[in-house]
């Protein structure tokens, strides 16, 4: 920028910490790329263990996005459009998982849905046992991902404004019709961004999952859990697996760039 240049050189007191921050963020990733045993990359990618973990990760993150869209969209609408007692409290509660340490989220899920949990007896009566199953993985992922989705969609619905809902009502539309034909289409950028965020969060989910669903190959072992397990035994494999996830993350970032990151 020419204007910035005429204002003088950037001061060292800002440049040095900025360089350190950049190094901290970039170096580990560069090392990972350099240290990845590329020669065996494809072999590892084709191994049964990795295949299962990849499949499970894809299934879990896909199912998580579907759960977020189906359940989170109505919740976002409720928070954005309906005035009810306790709305502020509910919104705060929805955001808690954002800052909750994932392990704590896992413990909370066990406490609620575990065999001896609050809802455990109820689930047992229905013949359902959740912990250490693939559905438990999806539940854990949804628990940690939903806040990203809900906040994104609620924000989009708020910024689109209630104005068009009012217009739709004067034209005779019911609230469901208004939601379907006006509110949701106008909030679509937020829905897409929220879905991608939720997917990214689900992709990296580890703490809540391993606590609530465990780490069983084929049923609950997702990529992050596999990486964690492998790192103890074979760091080289762990690096390969990490590289795979890194590539996936970068792909998401590229997809997001236009939609989300560039909009202020």
């Amino acid at each position: 920028m020419t204007t910035a240049r005429t204002l003088g050189r950037p001061p060292l007191v800002l440049l040095v910490p900025a360089a350190l921050a950049a190094a901290l963020l970039v170096l580990p990733l560069v090392s990972l790329v350099l240290d990845t045993p590329w020669a065996t990359f494809l072999d590892r990618l084709g191994s049964r263990e990795v295949g299962e973990a990849l499949r499970l990760t894809a299934v879990a993150s896909g199912a998580t996005v579907v759960a977020c869209v189906l359940l989170g969209t109505p919740l976002a609408w409720l928070l954005a459009r309906v005035d009810f007692r306790g709305r502020a409290v509910l919104r705060a509660a929805v955001t808690v998982p954002l800052v909750l340490p994932p392990v704590v989220a896992g413990v909370a899920l066990v406490t609620a849905l575990g065999r001896t949990g609050v809802l455990g007896p109820l689930l047992r009566e229905g013949g359902v046992s959740l912990p250490y199953t693939t559905p438990a993985v999806v539940i854990a992922h949804t628990f940690v991902s939903m806040p990203f989705y809900v906040l994104s969609v609620e924000g989009a619905m708020r910024s689109a404004g209630e104005r068009y809902d009012v217009v739709a009502a004067t034209l005779g539309a019911s609230r469901w019709t208004t939601f379907r034909r006006v509110t949701l289409p106008l909030a679509m950028p937020g829905v897409l961004a929220g879905a991608v965020l939720a997917w990214a969060r689900s992709l990296g989910e580890f703490g809540a999952t391993i606590t609530f669903a465990g780490n069983y190959p084929g049923t609950t072992q997702t990529m992050p859990s596999l990486i964690y397990t492998t790192l103890q035994a074979d760091p080289e494999v762990a690096r390969t697996l990490s590289m795979i996830l890194l590539l996936a993350s970068v792909a998401i970032l590229a997809a997001l760039r236009n939609r989300w990151l560039t909009t202020p």
């Binding site: 004067t170 005779g172 006006v182």
Partner: protein, 327 residues
Amino acid sequence: MADHAVSGLDARVYVEGRLDAALTAQAGQVVAVIGPNGAGKTTLLRALAGLVQMSGSVRVAGESWTEPPRLVRDRGLGYVFQDQSLFPHLTALDNVAFGPRARGVRRRDAEATARAWLDRLGVGDLSSRRPGELSGGQAQRVAIARALATRPALLLLDEPFAGLDVGVATALRLELARHLADYPGVALLVTHDAIDALTLADRVVVLDRGRVAQEGTPQDVAARPRTDHVARLVGLNVLREGEVLRSFSPRAVTVSLHRPEGSARHQWHGVVLSAAPHGDAVRLLVSGEHELLADVTPAAAGELGLAPGRQVWLSVKETAVQAYAAD
């Protein structure tokens, strides 16, 4: 109850702290609602639409909208908003078809209705455009088509010409007059512009500080304004002396730098607040005991140095003053 209450509009609207107004109109009538900013014009429309909390009663076409309270969507109304508020993600056609479809008309029929309305408003060739690709005048035409396409019993127009270029507004005003003449329901038109009231309305309601200050035919209200605001709108000076109102045209005012000779009862001293071209004259706003308008020729304005801040005397002949009861 009188006939018009059955087929038209009969409303008594009370909005806490903002509005206390009674309003009746016959089906087919166009009522202009004028008044200064904050007089409650938009509040009145929003209350009738059910968008603000009100007490009182609203009856439209023989049905009560207030007992029991009716949801906005169940009132048969059309609302043309000041900023058009077209759905930005829908084409002009889908915007207009939205109302009929929301009321259960099949898609194909709703689109046919929408097409017909867009044609009637002269924007049929723009049906596949989105609002972002329309000019202000075109968007307002689509908005009017959208409001009329549901065949509302009550049509509410909130400053439909605000923000449009003068030429566009004039053309649209003429067309709207035509459509309103065909429109079988009651139309309420909120406007800032005396021309709208005079050319479009059968009756004029003047709101001032949340109350009806005057009601009558446009001609009557224009000739005998009871509020300063309307006097300004129609370009008259109005003075209140007890129970008598006196109005006179700015053209009838004589401006001089010294106290006029003679017996003239109507003379005032004041300071020029503003001077602006008005037609082929210069219109002065003079502030003294009253705020008065006076038109002078540009030559006189130059000769007398009539710039803001100038002390002047105004006088008007008794024969140029019209007096009427304030009742």
